[in-house]
Amino acid sequence: MPYNIIVLIKVIPDLEQIKPNPTTGEIVTDRTPLRLETLSENAIEAAVQLKEKYGGKVFGLIFGKPESAPMLKKAFAMGVDDGIVITGYKGNNPVYTAEVLCGKIKGMQYDLIIAGNQSADTYTGLLPGIISGKLGINLLGNALTIALEERKIRVKSTLEKKIQNLNATLPAVVSVTQETNQPRLPPVMQIMAAGRKQIVTEAAQPQTMTGTLQISNKAPRSERKRQLYEKPEEGIAAVVRAIKEEIR
């Protein structure tokens, strides 16, 4: 049977191109190029694969900035049917993000919500749970495989030491990992068709965010230190200190 799938797509500043302000050490990402978060690509791939297998529609939801719009086109190219960009993302606050997303989702028809399990920029990993909690629907996290049958969902969930076979009923939230699939390279026809699609944007509701106060956001250190010791004995102490620091 066909399913309506919502895929949550995250747009992040490209981590490779993030640099600290050389004088203050503060991280500024305003002008860093954006990209699709890798796990969102896995989520899109999973959603599109389910659509191809069972039929239905995939709706892409981006909570970001107006500049995130091209990333929705990328999702369209990969096989997402429809979508929207909600603008007004104010930095990492999973509770607020979930609030905005759930506000939108509540007005929609859906069977399944798919998201990445942990995004590469903030690494919180809380969003799938918060959304599941807020919507009061089942959470099946860290899915390696997803199978649907009528109103039932079965997922192989990968934990640190074992893989659980989870069962639940729809609707549900599923989070995927990088091992779940290999995101596709979209065919050019679809890239071009996606390019011609209109992107709908709307402002986030609610607009105010409460919570944490950011005190500082600094690079732990700048570039590679490149402390070279031509007489290795002289460097051993420093190296041991650095190693101990990292394996603490």
């Binding site: 490209d14 490779e16 191109q17 640099k19 190029p33 990209r35 290999q182 596709r184 390279l185 979209p186 065919p187 050019v188 026809m189 890239i191 071009m192």
Partner: protein, 674 residues
């Protein structure tokens, strides 16, 4: 009897010619009607005629394999000579009073040529037989032995009966027989026949006449069989190859046909309609000689890719599906034309190609294997989104970072920060004469940065006013283009062309043959007019103008240098001599490896292979380093960053670090500047 034989011969000839022409019509009309790929050909007629004379009449490309070339050329020339004889044979056989060529010295000379070449062909057939079945030349093995044997049999019977008829004629057995075409030729002009006649006692009487009739019939039937057989076998090349050479895209490798994404519906080649009429002519011209495959770096190192099989497999699909598809409607055609990728052509083979052009270079009939392979890659990438995992990653990187690797583009010019040169992304100072296009490898790879620095020091020494683009430079798109991602390649090219125009660049020097080829040929096809020079050309100019004073190092005496040709410099752009001239200007201790210049073995990195795994067979780069080791080279000079990465790695993995160095021509020169 005479009347009957004339009629039979006429009927036989009509049937054979009709069959010959119908088969050809069918094949060539398929080539006109089925292909949808449009190509542009821009070569002048004089140039075409030159190519035709060189490669057909003079059999030029065949001599790249000397013994095979001699064998084929003798056979070819023999047949050309024999054509005059055969025409006369049939003309006279049908109308005994008809003189196709008026008697006289001209005719005598033609027959003298025939008489000599016929024996040459017989000896040549024996040689051909021994190559295939006694010497067992590898490239022939397993390919259509029956066809070859049958053709060789027809040829030898044709030649033997020619002499037998001549001998009998001298004995007078041919009196009144229509095909006795050599009457009137002075014996001095048929010396070989005369020699054979002297070996046998003169035959006479009705027995001789009967024998003459028998041989006459065999000779005629042999020829007609040959005529019928040609278009249905690999000997179709007798017709197709000269045409293919005449209509070829010149001896320089053709640029890949661009895709018009706005107006085209099908991208790349999925089934036989996605090729061009010229591709069909390529298929028809293939003789399965195997020169391509036995020069293919992938094949030579144990991969299953065989350019010959690619062409031959496609030809078989064209022959199997062509006529049916031509006679059917569009919807039916979709069912008849099955995808060629998967079966018969495996995806793995398509990805094994380094686009090194060794196959194209070798092909005597000027088939372009590489464009077809890239067209099929295009089909995989652009229609199905299929490519090796690592290749897909390089696409993502090229999109995000303008480099096949994960590199922060803002750091692209960092290697040059302390060199005091004009970095355009920082200065926006367009006051320069020449742009040094660094390329991704030299920008980001530590080893290759040394080469970039050497180029800078040479440019400085020669007082050239130059600049680099810094973070405004992006990958030229070569790795995307050669792996079939034309869409990404065009996007990158468009961005770079915009940048180059903005800085009003008219002259570019680059150290990377892949960038060089893109900028010079691919970008030109997109409308960018500028002079593009590779650093080997540039340095060679400087040296020959005396602007660089080179000294030899003391260590040079203990070294043995060799030069490894880059495919994109050599076969793609015909730059073979410049680097050699530079090296030899400094040292006499130079020796060529086997497989050099136009026959050079690829390093294994082209065609996007630098970013793929090479797991089957031995590594191409290792094979190349073995060749360097064989001549005890101590320094391999390269002129390509891809080659540098591959060979340097091979050298280390093979444990030859101590013994062998790899240096770029720019480093070679920079370290010897006075």
């Amino acid at each position: 009897m005479i009347y009957l034989s004339s009629v039979l011969l006429l009927i036989g000839l009509l049937v054979a010619v009709a069959s010959f022409l119908y088969t050809l019509y069918s094949l060539f009309w398929n080539a006109v009607k089925i292909p949808e790929k449009k190509i542009r050909m821009k070569i002048s007629l004089p140039r075409r005629i030159y190519i035709l004379i060189r490669n057909v009449a003079l059999q030029g490309k065949l001599f790249k394999d000397l013994s095979g070339g001699i064998m084929h050329a003798l056979m070819f020339w023999g047949f050309v000579a024999f054509a005059g004889y055969s025409a006369t044979f049939f003309a006279r056989g049908i109308d005994p009073s008809y003189e196709l060529i008026s008697p006289g010295l001209f005719k005598d000379v033609i027959f003298l040529t025939v008489d000599i070449f016929a024996i040459v062909v017989i000896v040549d057939v024996i040689y051909a037989v021994s190559r295939r079945w006694i010497l067992k030349i590898p490239r022939y093995q397993g390919y259509n032995g029956f066809e070859a044997a049958f053709i060789l049999l027809l040829v030898s019977v044709l030649m033997v009966t020619y002499y037998a008829l001549g001998v009998l004629r001298m004995d007078g057995a041919s009196a009144g027989i229509p095909g006795a075409i050599m009457e009137g030729i002075p014996p001095a002009f048929t010396p070989v026949t005369g020699f054979f006649a002297s070996l046998f006692p003169a035959a006479s009487g009705s027995g001789a006449v009967d024998l003459y009739w028998v041989l006459y019939s065999i000779h005629a039937i042999d020829f007609l069989t040959f005529l019928v057989y040609i278009p249905t076998s690999k000997h179709l090349h007798l017709v197709a190859a000269p045409l293919n050479v005449l209509l070829s895209k010149d001896t320089k490798p053709a640029q890949l046909t661009p895709i018009d994404f706005e107006n085209q519906k099908r991208f790349g080649a999925s089934d036989i309609r996605d090729f061009s009429w010229k591709d069909y002519l390529d298929f028809y011209s293939c003789t399965e000689c195997g020169r391509c495959t036995y020069n293919c770096p992938a094949f030579l190192t144990g991969k299953t890719l065989s350019p010959r099989d690619i062409i031959w497999d496609l030809r078989e699909v064209v022959i199997a599906q062509g006529s049916k598809a031509r006679h059917s409607g569009i919807e039916e055609r979709d069912k008849i034309l099955t995808p060629v990728i998967g079966d018969p052509i495996s995806e793995e083979d398509l990805w094994s190609c380094t686009t090194c052009m060794a196959c194209v270079e070798q092909c005597p009939v000027m088939i372009d294997h590489v464009e077809k392979i890239v067209d099929m890659r295009r089909s995989l990438v652009l229609n199905q989104g299929k490519a090796p995992k690592e290749t897909i990653e390089t696409y993502t990187n090229m999109e995000n970072y303008g480099s096949p690797w994960v590199n922060d583009p803002s750091t692209r010019g960092d290697w040059a920060k302390d060199l005091g040169i004009n970095i355009l992304s920082e200065t926006q100072n367009d006051d320069f004469d020449i742009l040094y296009w660094v390329g991704c490898v030299a920008s980001y790879d530590r080893r290759n940065q040394d080469i970039a620095k050497s180029i800078v020091s040479i440019l400085k020494k020669a007082n050239v006013k130059f600049a680099i683009l810094g973070s405004e430079e992006k990958c030229t798109g070569d790795p995307a283009k050669r792996t079939g991602n034309e869409y990404l390649a065009q996007n990158l090219a468009t961005a770079n062309i915009e940048t180059l125009n903005r800085h009003k660049v008219h002259r570019v020097i680059t150290g990377c043959p892949h960038c060089f080829n893109s900028l010079k040929n691919d970008y030109k096809a997109m409308g960018l007019e500028m002079e593009v020079i590779h650093h080997t050309e540039f340095i060679n100019q400087l040296v020959s103008l005396g602007k660089l004073d080179l000294k030899s190092l003391e260590s040079d005496d203990k070294e043995k240098f060799t030069y490894h040709d880059s495919c994109y410099l050599g076969r793609y752009n015909k730059i073979y001599e410049e680097p050699r001239t530079i090296i030899k200007a400094v040292t006499d201790n130079y020796e060529e490896m086997e497989m050099n210049k136009s026959k050079a073995l690829c390093c294994g990195a082209g065609g996007g292979r630098l970013w793929m795994n090479e797991t089957v067979g031995t590594k191409i780069s290792h094979k190349r380093m073995e060749m360097a080791d064989k001549i005890n080279a101590t320094t391999v000079v390269t002129a390509c960053p891809y080659c540098m990465v591959m060979l340097d790695d091979a050298r280390r993995v093979m444990g030859k670090e101590e013994k062998m160095h790899i240096t770029d021509i720019a480093e070679f020169v920079a370290s010897r500047l006075n």
